[in-house]
Amino acid sequence: MANVIDDETIDYVGILAELELSDEEKEQAKGDMSRMLDYIDKLNELDTTGIEPMSHAFAVSNVMREDLVTNGDGSEATLANAPEKTDDTFIVPKTTIS
């Protein structure tokens, strides 16, 4: 493996992904990530000079809808699986950016 993921990187990625990893899981993730990066390195060996980057696997563009209301009151379905809710809202732990 050419790419080595250090502890700091895996901790940082864990924070960004809101995941708490055990030491064992961290080691496994480090291995997974370095293999992914190796694969990207492999792809980078290809000469792509002059080739426009693709942003989608299908050669399709302009899939659009007209600006017409097609949905009605969706609150019941939206809230159906909420772990915690009031009559009309989700309840989540208080989260304030401070």
Binding site: H56, N62, R65, E66, G74
Partner: protein, 479 residues
């Protein structure tokens, strides 16, 4: 202050577009529905749901770009901005990082001293709005409403070209005016359909490098923006003068206390890991489509002003104020078309309409009366059916409830009294009842006649023909 500093400001302006539906689903964007009633699997980020782009969003965004002299990115796409926060049900916001729809634009602003200045626009991108959190006052919980989730936004990012609060307000006014002319948004700061984040740094005058900037949020009025700019400039100067450094951070402005507070600092690392959204295919805006959008652009303030000058011959002062607002310009044009009296329509708009707007703290966009009723009112005055002061009373009712002035005048018996006999009788009585004023007038105090006119109007419940009253009084007093 021992050194000379200048303030450097760039703005990020979010504008909610006036589409009927959300950017990626057929849910309504109507404001004020019961929580979560305007939601579906797409705008609540349910697994397996697929977003489909609203065509109107592209048209509005491109129209704003064209109106602000931007280059339109005809091959553009959407990217995911990843972050966790409960107002964002997908755990990512669909936005545009790599290929925003508009780039490299500019608007010209006019300042109080008459000078103009160009503010460059770095880019405009399309994105979706987040839901709304209500934090419980007592319990450690927040309530989430996703009605706003997926409402289309454009974010207009300026270059750091502004140097004062005045320039910032002029820039925002210009954007608001342009977007309102396009009908792309109502741009109400108080209701959040236009939101501005202020990026501000200071540096010594003449320095070529920028200082460290802060970003200020929660600015929901032009007054708050002005206060925040003044407060933050002072705070940064104080730090530098005390030999300290400005920390790059996001701050929340509290307009009640006139202070800003840090929200998050750089250490929290804003690493959004953007990548192209695989659920959305690329967007190709063809030359034909772009031409169509271009050909649908409305007549903006500058062109309107030129036309008004030629077509209506009203003073430049009137033209400037009326064309500042699309709404006022529409009212002016429609009412003038009905009654053929441009200057009189202008007087009603700049006089009573503006006075009532100010008194009620409303914007021109809040006006609900129909121009046709204003035109009818003008005809009633011109035809001598009602006098000027009654007209003001009727107009107040047109403004509030859009009453038909003809019916209103009839119903409330407000027709002007032009009957010479009735007026004469009244004037005679007023002269008999006010001997002192009569003496004053005859003694050379000409203005005493004003009091007698007032008394006559009062006796006639304001409905007398003021010209005739004046005439009759003069005749009788000068006899």
């Amino acid at each position: 202050m021992s050194k000379n500093y200048e303030t450097v400001i760039g703005l990020e302006v979010h504008v909610e577009l006036a589409t009927k539906t959300k950017i990626f689903c057929g849910c309504t964007t109507a404001f004020g529905g019961a929580p979560n009633t305007h939601t579906c699997p797409v705008c609540t980020g349910m697994p397996g749901s697929l977003p489909v782009l609203n065509k109107k969003v592209v048209e509005y965004a491109a129209a704003v770009g064209l109106a602000t002299n931007c280059k339109i990115t005809q091959k553009c796409k959407f990217d995911r901005k990843n972050y966790f926060y409960p107002d964002n049900p997908q755990n990512y916001q669909i936005s545009q990082l790599y290929l925003p729809i508009c780039r490299d634009g500019h608007v010209d602003i006019t300042l109080a001293d008459g000078s103009t200045k160009q503010v460059r626009i770095h880019e405009i991108h399309m994105e979706e709005d987040a839901g709304k959190l209500v934090h419980d006052e007592y319990d450690d919980v927040s309530y989430v409403d996703y009605n706003r989730s997926g409402v289309p936004l454009i974010e207009i990012v300026s270059e750091p070209d502004m140097r004062s609060a005045e320039e910032v307000i002029a820039y925002l006014e210009k954007l608001r005016q342009t977007i309102q002319y396009l009908g792309a948004s109502d741009c109400k700061l108080q209701e959040g359909s236009m939101r501005a984040d202020v990026n501000l740094s200071i540096r010594e005058v003449g320095a070529s490098e920028f200082g460290t900037r802060t970003e200020m949020k929660n600015l929901n009025s032009f007054t708050a923006i002005t206060h925040a700019i003044e407060g933050e400039t002072e705070r940064q100067i104080d730090l530098l003068e005390a030999g300290k450094e400005v920390e790059q951070q996001t701050r929340r402005w509290d307009d009640n206390n006139g202070e800003s507070y840090p929200m998050r600092s750089k250490e929290d690392a804003h690493d959004y890991r953007y990548f192209p959204d695989p659920d959305l295919v690329p967007l190709n805006i063809s030359d034909e489509w772009l031409d169509e959008i271009r050909s649908n652009q409305p007549e903006f303030k500058e062109e309107k002003a030129i036309r008004y000058r030629e077509e209506f011959g009203i003073p430049d002062y009137d033209i400037g104020l009326i064309t500042d607002s699309k709404k006022l310009a529409d009212i002016f044009e429609e009412a003038t078309a009905e009654c053929g009296e441009p200057k009189k329509v202008s007087n009603w708009i700049l006089g009573e309409t503006m006075r009532i707007l100010k008194e009620k703290s409303l914007d021109p966009e809040d006006i609900t009366f129909s121009p046709a009723n204003l035109a009818k009112l003008i005809k009633l005055v011109d035809g001598g059916t009602i006098n000027g002061s009654v007209a003001k009373e009727v107009f107040a009712n047109i403004f509030d409830e859009d009453v038909d002035p003809e019916a209103y005048v009839e119903e409330h018996g407000l027709k002007q009294v032009n009957d010479e006999g009735a007026l004469k009788a009244c004037v005679e009585k007023v002269i008999a009842d006010n001997p002192q004023s009569v003496l004053d007038y005859k003694g050379g105090k000409v203005q005493a006649i004003g009091y007698l006119v007032g008394q006559t109007m009062k006796a006639m419940k304001g409905k007398a023909n003021p010209g005739m009253v004046n005439q009759l009084l003069k005749e009788m007093l000068d006899k």
